[in-house]
Symmetry: D2
Subunit: 354 residues, 4 copies
């Protein structure tokens, strides 16, 4: 069950209808899960900012690097131009090139892109090598293209699915998680949605409750283990009219949301945030030298910051709650965060609503 279904209500703002990144109108998610035999526990999660030709109608975007031990593709162009021209694909560490290549295929073959000779594929990853035979590079182009083809709005599968199939978070089974916030009218009425691929560690807090300590599982408990390494890929979407500068600021608050779960962005963690806004589109071909756009004034962005922090915290907790115990390569097994025990702890700390 998801966080709110269990009575764990994170933050002071309200979620959107689906409590998912897809609450931002137009955003679609597609996932392909590869769970085969004893060794393959990986997959692909794709996020599309809108329905149209993404290359021809770019969205404004920015990235924030929390800790750069990772293989994210596409960083510099998004930063330089302030736009995203591809879907965002998440997968495992060693399959980033495959996914980047598949995005090129996908883009080149779209109607209207016959003359495109340059594509900035944006691909994020976490390392699922504990459960998954990552050296086998089992993700193939068709998996990525399938994930893109299957992308839909509406509900988003969470837990051991897509790029979260083989991930580990706070020493428990992690995975894909999502959440959103819809600001009240007087704060702008905008929606912020977050999707995460969780594979990191630290000292787990669930809505502020010291679950890691209570369960006796946390970073450096006994020694300088590397259990807190891993990575967290985070994607934040909004319909608020933010330019690249303010999207980068929004992305940073997503990283702050990760901090609220007790993540420490350890040395070996690749913690990245990709932010985009669906409000303004930047045309690839323009005959006009200037374009007019309406942007949110700096003074009005702070509620979006809070929305991003809360959505991220809840998305990460959802990724844990929706994941299931999994066995994988080399006989490795990762337990799910035990729901009963968790609820007991939450009750002990007075954080279970109802």
């Amino acid at each position: 069950k998801r966080s709110r279904e269990l009575g764990i209500k994170i933050g002071v703002l309200s979620p959107g209808t689906m409590n998912a990144i897809t609450d931002v109108a137009g955003v679609k998610v597609g996932q392909v899960t590869l769970s085969e035999g004893a060794d393959v526990r990986t997959g692909v999660t794709a996020i599309l900012p809108h329905d149209g030709n993404l290359f021809q109608q770019k969205v404004m975007a920015a990235m924030y690097i929390g800790n750069g031990f990772g293989k994210l593709a596409g960083y510099s162009q998004v930063e330089e131009l302030g736009t995203l021209e591809s879907p965002i694909v998440l997968t495992n560490t060693l399959s980033v090139p495959t996914a980047a290549d598949a995005i090129i295929d996908w883009t080149l073959t779209q109607k209207g892109n016959e003359n495109v000779r340059s594509v900035n594929s944006v691909v994020g990853e976490t390392n699922d090598g504990y459960l998954n035979d990552i050296r086998g590079r089992h993700v193939r182009k068709e998996h990525v293209l399938n994930a893109l083809a299957q992308a839909v709005s509406g509900q988003v599968a969470e837990g051991n699915v897509g790029a979260g199939t083989g991930t580990v978070c706070f020493n428990w089974k992690g995975g894909i998680g999502t959440s959103s916030r819809k600001l009240p009218k007087n704060l702008g009425g905008y929606t912020v949605g977050v999707l995460v691929q969780t594979n990191f560690g630290g000292v787990l807090k669930v809505n502020g409750v010291p679950v890691g300590e209570e369960m006796g599982k946390y970073a450096f408990k006994e020694s300088l283990d590397k259990s807190s390494d891993g990575s967290c890929m985070m994607v934040v979407a909004t319909d608020a009219p933010l330019d690249a500068r303010n999207l980068k600021r929004l992305a940073k608050r997503v990283f702050m949301g990760m901090a609220q779960t007790g993540g420490i962005a350890s040395n070996g963690s690749g913690d990245y945030v990709i932010a985009f806004s669906t409000a303004n589109r930047v045309l690839h071909e323009t005959s006009e030298s200037t374009f007019s756009a309406s942007y949110l004034h700096n003074d009005y962005v702070s509620p979006l910051f809070l929305a991003a922090m809360e959505s991220t915290e809840e998305a990460i907790i959802n990724s844990l709650l929706m994941a299931r115990t999994s066995e994988g390569t080399q006989g490795h097994k990762v337990e799910e965060l035990p729901e009963d025990k968790l609820l007991e702890i939450m009750r002990k700390y007075g954080r279970l609503k109802q």
Copy 2:
């Protein structure tokens, strides 16, 4: 009373002897409080990395900008050269030039600095203009020089003192706070100490407990108020042998610690971290073209990250707990976080140790 004295025990690591930035050997703190008449509520807090000539024996340093709405002096040179050559002085927003000028005086007049013609003063600030007649610029050079002269190791005064005299945090009286962590031997045995000047907002959590919500005071509760604006200046010291690159990473974790208290780094907040290591000194005058230094390997820095997060969270909470209700200019009054009510809430949420 400080956090731990009240039974609020933040984090899994243990504090140093003083639970203060001064637990890092050699670090000294000096403070001058200006609280005069109805209007003046400001001051100066100075941090000295070591006892010697700071200009001639620089320490390795880095800065991280969480949210740059602030007037921090000295950023670019620290970033470029990786060294700090002045004390760190904190004061109010409009007194940054005065403090920077005083650091120049202080440096030029020191023995051995007769030929110094360039000084990179590092000055941080928060805006105490709600309680303090900030436009009056009541901080004078001598106040800064006094703070520097009075700097001592050992205990550090917290709350409405020095640069924290007039600050407001989460809508309560904020101020100066400090805390530290000493890593166990098997994690390196290093000390990390943090000092904060708190003047920011968001949705207060004390050790994960939703105190802001329980007290009915948090950002955007009714409307898009600017109560979360302000600033948070954070200084982190360590005796671990980190170079500038890893110090910058450490600084970022301090910002993550701020996030754990519910700070949102709102648009109008100047959230900066200054990090330095006392382990290696960089001589201003060198006849040798190379220098040998011992540094911590990347793989061993993660426990320091956790230590920085915990120290920061606790330092911020200390700044609130040690502050006292204050009236200031224009009849403005800011209440202290009520201890009784706080303890009651902490008890309700099962977070009071004893």
Copy 3:
């Protein structure tokens, strides 16, 4: 004489009417020169983006740090918010606090700013300590306020004037220089203007001609001297509608223009660029949460990049050509770049038009 008056024609684009930063409509420059007795050789150069209340009507802005060994004030806020709310003041290294303080005075006392409690003073500097008794800090607030009060559009004095009174460039007397480019209609028709304060070194090239080598004066000719240290402060203005992201890119091209003169951005050089656009104003007080503006599309910025490079190169050469031999503190003397010899070299290398 200025570069073009001597027949040295830099670049392929044409200058504006004044061939100065003031060709960007509305931009004003004011300078105060302090040349007193044997020891004082310093001053102040102030640049105002427009005539109105700069704090209430901010301009979009960005900064680029070429080499951060310097004391620039105001960096982080411009970067975070994308706006400039003060004039830009240039002076000597140890007078930055004085200038920053003066800008606060100037801002607080303006009509309409009665409630302003936060001012982000932007002050750049170079170190004139070879000719000037810099430790004496002879620049006082009134000098800064006078420079601001005297600011005018139209012609800009160059050479040993204002903040360039005591500077040294490529081992010759440097100073203030300016230049501009006006793009032809088919490239947008915009104006780009640059003003520099030159105090740096390397291997001087004048319009590509190896003047440094020919004159036998260049960095490291004999040994690892520090003659290439110093600093170069560069300000670029444009009427093209650029947002902060594209202004930062423009600023970087100014730094590239510096490279074309043979500057190497040595370790001890503080090479900074401040860029602003006069096209859009950002109101300090807004009741609307969003604002509409017209911006130049990324695809149309490249001619501005070339304009910035050319203007910078010519501004630096102008600063040398307009400077005069100067004696200062401790009997130090710096020769001007000898015009006759220069012209002879330019002729030898076929670079003298007429």
Copy 4:
């Protein structure tokens, strides 16, 4: 013929023995050229920092992004950790994923890397789509592996070779170019070597001579064409003991060297610099938490900056001089910079030695 063979002597410092990046001891270069039929004009250039297991014995490294319109792989991890753990491979824009994947193959299959589950492939690119059927993605993994296998020290082929097979520079045929500088003893005696893949534009200057103007070919001559778009990938190696911070500074001076040729880093250009030092190795597996190393003091890096600028300028000119007229896809043809005409112009401007 190379620049110096023609009597074009760039800069004041002397080249190393080969006047190539391979003058830095241990550095190897391998290239595979794909020139098939009418349509395929592309290839691979690989640079190996040393002979050993690059993953297990990383070199210190940094990157500088001049203009980020490009698809460089591997940026964030190099920046975060300060190390390079793979060879550097250059190829065309749409083949970056293929090359990144090949580097993973290459790394995983090396002796000693049996347990490696994470590889940060560093791949740069420029867009050769004018001469090359880039949409055909003709570079295959084996081409990359061959380039790596064939890497040798000593002379480096230049012009239409490897990743430079199909590139265009200043509207002439570009390609691969290289150059180096060996500092005299009194400046440290270190070697700096640069290799470039040139595919960019602007207003060409050869050793300061306005060749672009004289030949009547330069950016925006007639209109806002995109001829200056493209990209320039630059790699700089040194045996000076620089850490990541100073390597980043060195990388920036390489970009400055590009500026000296008249490159403008136009909007559509992907101008990146990758810098590494062979002086210190960072072991992947360490039982020691700290490591001792000798580093160059900040005060001694400036001559390396000049060396990097000069090497880059000369490497770019070499890439032009060594390239040959080429016809490719869609009947496109790009002329080589005509040597006779060039020499005539150089003579006219007094820049031909002998």
